[in-house]
Symmetry: C2
Subunit: 268 residues, 2 copies
Amino acid sequence: MTPSASPLSSQSTALQVRLAAREGLFSGHTSGLASAHVQVNLVLLPAALADDFGQFCERNPVACPLLAVTRPGQTDWPALGQDLDLRSDVPRYHLWRRGERVAELTDLSEIWRDDLVSFALGCSFTFEHALLAAGIPLRHVQQGRNVAMYRSTLATVPAGPFAGPVVVSMRPLRAADAIRAIQITSALPQAHGAPVHLGDPSLIGIADLARPDYGDAVELRSDELPVFWACGVTPQAALQAARPDFCITHAPGHMLVTDLLHRAPTTP
Amino acid sequence: MTPSASPLSSQSTALQVRLAAREGLFSGHTSGLASAHVQVNLVLLPAALADDFGQFCERNPVACPLLAVTRPGQTDWPALGQDLDLRSDVPRYHLWRRGERVAELTDLSEIWRDDLVSFALGCSFTFEHALLAAGIPLRHVQQGRNVAMYRSTLATVPAGPFAGPVVVSMRPLRAADAIRAIQITSALPQAHGAPVHLGDPSLIGIADLARPDYGDAVELRSDELPVFWACGVTPQAALQAARPDFCITHAPGHMLVTDLLHRAPTTP
């Protein structure tokens, strides 16, 4: 039995997920798959824009925690995984032209360019893994939904053509869990770190929690606070502002699964 | 000039504050005095009750962070200060009998008993020092008021006759400051640690923030969250439940100033 012939699960290895994507056997969400392993947001840009985008990440480390960058044209990534191919190992890619999403792809071989620089950014799956391990319930996970995301009035620090709002993800938590979640995620700066806001959504420009800009709405109960983290969709908003001629990202929720292991969560 | 002849200030040494209290020259609040030094809550109990009260502290370390305990009858406390006299160095004491406060005293010489065991418990002044050092504004400090305190519906874990509610202190903070305050105070378990609640006061049984059970009310603005920490008045509520024949505490806000130095606050 080849790795990709078995159904993917939380127990899969990262390589099994990547091979299944590469072989065209899997093009779904990666939430919960190979759960011991770090998943990352991907941005692939022409080399001419790489310095500006790298600086944008450095100036906005909470929204855009930069984990690794390739050389131009590099298709493997030994720092992130053995036998990794950037052209095929993400289940689903988005192709962007001048700030508009023009195609959804499962393989980049036809459009690969030798000037592409790839950026791997930390992902909230890492801190969600730590929160769940600490026994903190996450409603969107329980309900099998995508997390609710909103364009906030918090602004990123621009770099070159890259600018725009901080996009935040929201998780409803009871106060005691919110306090523990702040403690736990403060120790995970490579995955968005501590929340950027909690409580009244209107203070960061969110008029209606029931109408997220991305993802799925979830119920907020009367004994819960909405807790907002900076989100890995922030770079996509910056790409829409910068309108590069050519850019590739992962499709939201369809992440690159790396060989890196989550740190064991520590309870403060 | 003797130490006590000069006016006390944030720059005073701990010994200067203690000597001024000992010599009857000072009987006021210690908030802001000798600000480099740790101030502590005091509970003095007959030795027959010491084991139960010590266990109460151990079972409720957030509300009652036990820093040090004396032998029965001990009046000095080298671990907490040079030339320290427990009978005179607190600016104001309360004498309790059967759970009722029966006297306010500035000196215990007349009523000292050789079976008294003294307990030093961490104090919120320590974490307030760290919050202010991090640039987080505290309204009651700005307004020169006592902090607002409330009996909550959170319960302590009983030990012997000691039981009762967790008393909480409330500070109004903007969300970003609340998040930083959680990070900072999480690192100070010897001074009540992280908040126990934030947001809706009714969830911990507080009907009206404008009517605190102890201390002074402060305004809560529309862009702020009420943030609640376990408070050093909790042991006094437990003493009222236990109704010991004889007990001494400091008067709220009139603390024992120790020679211990605050740790340098670290910003996460």
